[in-house]
């Protein structure tokens, strides 16, 4: 006997992601799922944003890493609420890992939650976590061909942040070609060019984030 099922395999994850989002919405927390290759500057961008926006918005961070608390310790030093998730062998965060982390955060006192995913340009695109926006950080030393090589990640992104623009004089990176590929895959995407080292471009990113967070809370 054959039983027709027609159920998405991601449905269990999606159900939990929707529940996470409801919890976030209830507390008016605007959540960002930050994804990138290892070393592109997810933590650096979060630290720069904390520096600029800490007096304007109440921020918190969930750190996802295969191992270690290195990133969580950096955030903790800033006096910002942080939860570290160690995924062990897992290549990505999943919605069910976020749920217990939300319980550990003072949600009633948070405006913006950064969820820093495991450094990987493939798997994190597959799992919704309950975020409001997906942010992909791509750094110049990785090369301008990343959107062509990992098209799905860039198709999913709401925002792409090009980091390490201070290195442009030293490396070959065609900004126009990068932008063209990303906008081709994803015409609605917002692209920022920043350097977390010099601070260039961070104001524009922060201004976007602040506007979106306030829009979501109103």
């Amino acid at each position: 006997m054959k039983i027709e099922v027609l159920k998405n395999i991601s449905s269990a994850n999606d159900t939990i992601a929707t529940r996470n989002k409801q919890v976030l919405d209830k507390h008016k927390v605007f959540a960002l799922n930050c994804m990138s290759s290892p070393g592109a500057g997810k933590t650096s961008l979060i630290l720069q944003t904390i520096d600029r926006l800490r007096n304007e918005l109440k921020l918190a961070v969930i750190e996802g890493d295969v191992a270690s608390k290195i990133d969580a310790d950096k955030i903790d030093k800033q006096g910002i609420p942080v939860v570290q998730i160690n995924t062990g062998a897992a290549c990505s965060l999943e919605a069910q890992m976020i749920t217990p982390s939300l319980d550990k955060l003072p949600l009633e006192n948070i405006d913006v939650l950064f969820i820093e995913n495991v450094g990987n340009l493939i798997c994190p695109a597959e799992f919704a976590l309950g975020e409001h926006k997906k942010v992909v950080i791509s750094s110049m030393p990785e090369g301008d061909d990343k959107p062509a090589k990992y098209p799905l990640m860039f198709t999913e992104a709401d925002v792409v942040v090009i980091n390490k623009i201070d290195l442009l004089p030293h490396i070959e990176f065609d900004v126009a070609s990068f932008r063209k590929t990303v906008e081709g895959l994803n015409p609605d995407v917002k692209i920022f060019e920043v350097s977390c080292k010099t601070g260039d471009g961070i104001d524009a990113w922060c201004s976007w984030l602040s506007t979106e967070a306030k829009k979501a809370a109103s």
Partner: protein
């Protein structure tokens, strides 16, 4: 607040295989049958699911369940892309996502992200 810790650990195909098996077991339970002989999956070329990995995890996850003797059938769905400029539809290119007709890089995915349990076969 000190950094808290939440432990969890899975690779992507393990999570997907577990979810697939749970869907199949729930359906069998709802239909009040005790044995699943086959799980039919539809997997798109762009779904990011590697079938050999799924089979590897399925072999140990299915033990002591109603799907213990089940096999998996994968129905692959090829990716279909469409050019936003000239509306040409084409298969996944070998290299860059560029329209073979007009060389535009404004491309959308119209098919190939599927990843679902189509049906189960039971006794």
């Amino acid at each position: 607040m000190r950094p808290g810790e939440v432990a969890a650990g899975k690779v992507h195909e393990l999570a997907i295989t577990e979810q697939m098996l749970n869907i199949a077991l729930d359906e069998a339970k709802a239909a009040q049958v005790s044995k699943i002989t086959k799980i039919n999956l539809v997997i798109g070329e762009l779904s990011g699911v590697v079938s050999d990995c799924v089979l590897f995890y399925f072999d140990f996850l299915k033990k002591d369940t109603a799907a213990e003797e089940a096999t998996i059938d994968f129905e692959p769905v090829p990716a279909e892309l469409r050019c936003r400029d000239c509306l040409a539809e084409f298969a996944l290119p070998d290299s860059l996502w560029i329209c073979p007709n007009c060389q535009s890089s404004s491309i959308e995915v119209i098919s190939g992200r599927h990843c679902y349990v189509e049906s189960i076969e039971v006794e």
